[in-house]
């Protein structure tokens, strides 16, 4: 380090890396944070980013164009998209009921919304399979109508509905709760019908939250493993999700292939979330305080 760097020229404000503070402990806290994050997150991620290229671009391309990989990615992203889209109206309805109506046991019902967060995924997986499998309570009923609800993409979709719902509810709920009641009343005094109030005032206000909830549910669904593999059936090309394909490639000691699939998932998810973010920014521009 040069002396000049230590003694900033007077009158020329030097851009600092860190603002001065009277609080102590920054070096210790920051040092620990960076070291820990480096070892637990950055180093492993570096492996994920770098290892696919061991066999060159050609290797990556070969892996990505395998039928099985394409089918798995399509399945994972497709079912996740459908499930997250379904969860948007479902989640809005649940959040609406929980914030707008007073009924006995409301707080208990509210607490149960978080169950998919708290229930280990493997438990959810075998339980859902037991329900929607051919001999399950609901699976049997659906089977009578010729609808198979397990060991196929429908089963995957059901599992993803289960794990995604709380994301939508929990992002929309606080917004509905905090919605300025005066704004709805204003619409009312200006002559809006109930439906118009919902469509023109409430919905635009919760739209950003709905989109966030959607993207959280989607991101979680794409990577979901435990609750899906038991009900999925795991038939190559038909009901094999991308995370399972990673496991299979690892079992075959195809590290580069596994890393390629993992990286591809990460990149596609990232791209999707980026798109959602742009949508959010666009909506935010349209007037948020």
């Amino acid at each position: 380090m040069t002396v000049a760097a230590l003694a900033p020229v007077a009158g020329k404000p030097r851009t600092r890396w860190k603002e001065p503070s009277i609080l102590p402990g920054f070096p210790l806290a920051m040092g620990w944070t960076l070291t820990y994050l480096g070892l637990i997150v950055v180093l492993p991620l570096a492996a994920l980013v770098l290892r696919p290229w061991e066999a060159g671009l050609h290797g990556v391309w070969a892996t990505l164009t395998e039928d099985r990989v394409l089918a798995a990615l399509r399945l994972s992203f497709g079912t996740s998209l459908l499930a997250a889209l379904t969860n948007v109206p479902l989640g809005l309805m649940v959040a609406w009921t929980l914030t707008r109506y007073e009924f006995p046991g409301r707080r208990i019902v509210d607490a149960f919304v978080d169950l998919p967060f708290a229930l280990p995924t493997a438990v959810a997986g075998i339980a859902l399979t037991a329900i929607y499998g051919p001999t399950g309570v609901l699976g049997e009923q659906f089977a009578q109508f010729g609808l198979k609800t397990a060991y196929n993409p429908i089963g995957i979709y059901i599992a993803l509905l289960f794990i995604g719902l709380p994301f939508v509810v929990r992002t929309v709920q606080p917004v509905l709760q905090d919605l300025d009641r005066e704004v709805e009343e204003a619409a009312q005094t200006l002559g809006a019908t109930t439906f118009q109030r919902f469509r023109m005032v409430v919905l635009p206000a919760v739209l950003p939250a709905l989109i966030s909830g959607f993207s959280l549910a989607f991101a979680r669904a794409v990577g979901e493993y435990g609750s899906v593999i038991f009900i999925a059936g795991n038939m190559p090309l038909k009901s094999e999700i991308a995370p399972l394909l990673i496991v299979i490639k690892l079992e075959q000691y195809d590290y580069a292939g596994a890393a390629t699939v993992g990286l591809a998932m990460l990149v596609i998810s990232f791209g999707a979330l980026l798109g959602v973010n742009f949508l959010q920014i666009f909506l935010a521009r349209r007037g948020r305080a």
């Binding site: 102590p24 402990g25 492993p44 994920l48 309805m93 339980a127 037991a130 990673i246 496991v247 890393a259």
Partner: protein
């Protein structure tokens, strides 16, 4: 409650639909776990839980959580102190990295450790030469769990401490308290419920994690199977009662977590980060 738009005519319909959705989608699976576990009576329920493999799985699960949770709690406090109490460049990048494990597939969170420490991993050869085993061993389970649960505590503390601001700490310092005393007597009491909340969620996930640990475990029955992996092993062997019995313990853990979490949200809502207030 505010007298805003309530769609009064729709109330019964909305309530019924909500209860139906939550009932079928969320409560039913929980009920099924206990129903299946007890399907062949109490004896058949207890028996698989006392099997040495099951007991080992429980012990292993507790061990992994006992190492991972404190590590991530300390990290969470340190990260929150650095991020919520100081202004520096690249803060949002740092926060992004802390949140990253939430948006990674659990399988990827396991995969990355295999890429580093597996037989053909970057450090695989070195580890073999020095006779150190990480993958297919407890340390691998810990690493995978630590990665998956890393954001939990930090995510609770950072927004709370940002909301609270540094005024109280600054006041303590002007009154002559040292840095450590200030942290212990001012900061810690202010964040204790949020810390507990974060630890609770972190622990639930650590004990229940499946995807990440399944990648690094190799599922050697009775050696590297945590309780969730034990569930899978039994299920795949068609030992359904045993699988659901083990699952019922995990479901119980989930329920206890849910109750404690809800109690924290009701009792100490003002001392949790804004998103947790009810």
């Amino acid at each position: 409650m505010n007298p805003t738009l309530r769609l009064p005519g729709l109330a019964p319909l909305m309530l019924a639909a909500t209860l139906a959705v939550l009932g079928v989608l969320i409560v039913l699976p929980l009920g099924v776990v206990f129903h299946q576990a007890l399907a062949k009576g109490l004896g058949a329920y207890i028996e698989p839980l006392t099997h040495p493999d099951a007991l080992h799985a429980i012990r292993l699960t507790l061990t992994v959580a006992a190492i991972s949770v404190p590590l991530n709690a300390v990290f969470g406090v340190a990260a929150a102190w650095a991020i919520a109490r100081f202004e520096f460049k690249g803060k949002s990048l740092l926060v992004t990295f802390i949140d990253l494990p939430f948006s990674m597939s659990p399988v990827v969170s396991g995969l990355v450790w295999v890429l580093l420490f597996g037989a053909q991993g970057w450090f695989g050869e070195w580890l073999r030469d020095h006779d150190i085993k990480i993958i297919f061993a407890t340390s691998g389970l810990v690493l995978a769990t630590v990665l998956v649960t890393l954001p939990f505590v930090a995510r609770e503390l950072i927004p709370l401490m940002q909301d609270q601001g540094a005024d109280e700490e600054a006041a303590a310092l002007t009154l002559g308290a040292g840095g450590w005393t200030t942290f212990r007597r001012v900061t810690l009491p202010n964040i204790k419920w949020a810390l507990l909340y974060g630890v609770l969620l972190c622990n639930a996930r650590a004990m229940g994690e499946f995807g990440a640990v399944s990648v690094v475990s190799g599922s050697v029955r009775g050696v590297t199977t945590t309780l969730p992996l034990h569930v899978e092993v039994l299920y795949n062997d068609y030992e359904f009662v045993g699988a659901f019995a083990a699952a019922s313990i995990l479901a119980g853990l989930g329920l206890v977590t849910l109750v404690l979490k809800t109690v924290l949200e009701w009792r100490h809502s003002g001392e949790l980060s804004a998103g947790r207030r009810h």
